[in-house]
Amino acid sequence: MKRQVLQRAIERFWEIAGGVSVRTKILGIVLGGTLLFGMTTVLQVRYALHQVLVARTQDWGIAIASDLAARSTDLVLINDLLGLYRLLKDAVDHNPEIRYLFVLSPQGEVLAHTFGTGPEFPAGLIEANTLPPGASYHLQPLRTPEGIIWDIAVPIFRGRAGVLRLGLRDTAVRAAVNTVTTWLLLTTIAVSALSIGIALILTHLIVRPIRGLVAMTERVARRDFTARATVWANDEIGALAQAFNNMVEELGQQERMRAFYLQRIIEAQEEERRRIARELHDETGQALASLRVGLRNLEQTTAPEALRSRLEDLYQLVDETLRRVRRLAFELRPSVLDDLGLVAALERYIRDYRERFGIEVEMQVVGLDERRIPPTIETAVYRIVQEALTNAAKHAKCQRISVLLQASPRLLSVIVEDDGCGFDVEYVLRDGRENRLGLYGMRERAQLVGGTLTIESAPGRGTTVYLRVPLEGV
């Protein structure tokens, strides 16, 4: 229950905090900080100042009271009440903080006071403060309609001539504290205004590059790879902009490569079709046409000897055509791959290859008997091995090739390794050479079935092509 409430509160907070712009957030932080600091300072200063001033004022009041008590001792002893009155009146007139003064005889009668003539002497005031015997003074705060008044009682002639009482106002203290508070508040407001100004500038500095990045990202999303973010500063956002630029550069590069290779692949495909069309037309078509002529000839042949010889020619022609068509079909797509699987197709291909190029090829298969893998993977592996072997025959000048297929439940690993002249992989991949297309095609095929292709080679050290295809979830 409690947790739910907390959850709700956090969600609400994020709703608000997430709903406002970065500018507002920064302004909120700055303004909140400044105001919090200002208000705390004001309260703290107010309290401390009040304490100090009150103590000071009370000390001053006690000093005045003691002084007046000393000066009034003689007046009390000779019973000069008028003189006493003048002394008190004088002190009250010159010090606005003093609310009242009066002198009590040892018997507790008022000898002189500053409340003026008549019965205005406040009732209960005499009893409000009593001086403990032997004390040099006693202070008693009184709550009155005029505010707090500190009543100070001081003995006259160690109490033998009575007690002097002084009423001290706190108006001066309050005025001073209020003045300081006002100033502090004004300062806080001024500082807040200034901070908002600075925060606005800083926010602009932060938000501007971010807006730039957003605009750039949108352009990149529309496949405009010329977009670049301005790097305004050498800070984190600057680093982000730089990283973005590098990424877009890389993406653009890849896009150009892809377009280039796509173009080349389409061309190659078209070239292949042209070759097949030519072969069908020039070879097969031609052969069938010859066959037709030959058959027509047979009609007119009557001599048994000639008939036999012509038939023999026709059989040969048919066999030759059949062989070519079968070879063409096999090159296009070996049906054995579909019917009997990868290993059978590769064995067949390698047997042809051995005869065609005179290169010793050994194939070793581990953990793949009886097991069919998905057709897309079989096709990819077949084509990649084919490409690797073709490359070896064309470029490697090798004598021996080893083809290794290892299947675990999760991974199919195919390694084609030759003992040929090798090549500088980096160099060939970087500088568009002819056979780069083949390497790129192998890699693309591998990636299409979720696999990876690694080529290890160096001049004079042979070439190894590693293909790894995950079989998981298949």
């Binding site: 054995v336 009997l340 059978a344 064995e347 581990v366 083809v403 390694i415 390794e417 690694t454």
Partner: protein, 216 residues
């Protein structure tokens, strides 16, 4: 009289065969079929002595048709007549119980001979295909005799060769053992030399034979 059912999806080819076989005194063509299902139905109805079966017909895969025929009409001898000259097809067909295997470019005499042979209960395999089977009889190329036993290899050489055999790249082996690629290649070459092996495929075969290849 040998009663023959012809199963092939090309009508012209069937007609040619019918003519050829009809001319033989001891052979009679008793039916024709253009796909797998038809072949099954005809075979059950006619009960022929020999079925000439094409492996690539529309619909059911040829090998499946073969398997079903073996079950439905076990007495009929099935002679595969196909374009495929792959040993893999031959092996599969024999495994499924075909009595013979002949390719379409065989001569008329060869075909007639084949039909007669399977009808007699013999196995006929066209001469162009026998090489593949003979290769099976010749034992697999023996591994070159190892100059030195596995145990004589240094620990590093054994380590490297094990990783090579399970298919790691030289770079990966170098990273794993904390060596340079060059050093890995040297260990590998030296180890292979000692064992008298020349290729990775040979190494894998050697290790399987010696029981050294354990799943990681």
């Amino acid at each position: 009289m040998i009663r023959v059912l012809i199963a092939d999806d090309h009508a012209v080819f069937r007609a040619g065969l019918r003519m050829l076989l009809g001319a033989q005194p001891d052979i009679e063509v008793v039916g024709e079929a253009g796909d797998g299902w038809q072949t099954l139905k005809q075979a059950e109805r006619i009960r022929p002595d020999v079925i000439l079966l094409d492996l690539t017909m529309p619909g059911m895969p040829g090998l499946q048709t073969l398997a079903l025929l073996r079950r439905q009409v076990p007495d009929a001898k099935i002679l595969i007549l196909t374009m495929h000259e792959d040993e893999a097809y031959l092996r599969q067909a024999l495994a499924e119980g075909a009595a013979g295997y002949i390719i379409k470019r065989a001569t008329d005499e060869e075909l007639v001979t084949a039909i007669r042979a399977v009808a007699r209960g013999e196995i006929y395999i066209h001469p162009a295909m026998t090489r593949a089977l003979l290769e099976d009889l010749i034992p697999a190329p023996k591994l070159p005799e190892a100059h030195e036993p596995w145990e004589s290899l240094s620990e590093r050489e054994q380590q490297v060769l094990r990783l090579v055999a399970v298919g790691h790249t030289n770079q990966e082996i170098a990273d794993r053992l904390g060596l340079s690629v060059k050093t890995v290649e040297t260990y590998r070459a030296r180890g292979m030399e000692k064992l008298g092996l020349r290729t990775r495929a040979q190494l894998v075969r050697y290790m399987i034979q010696k029981g050294l290849l354990k799943e990681e």
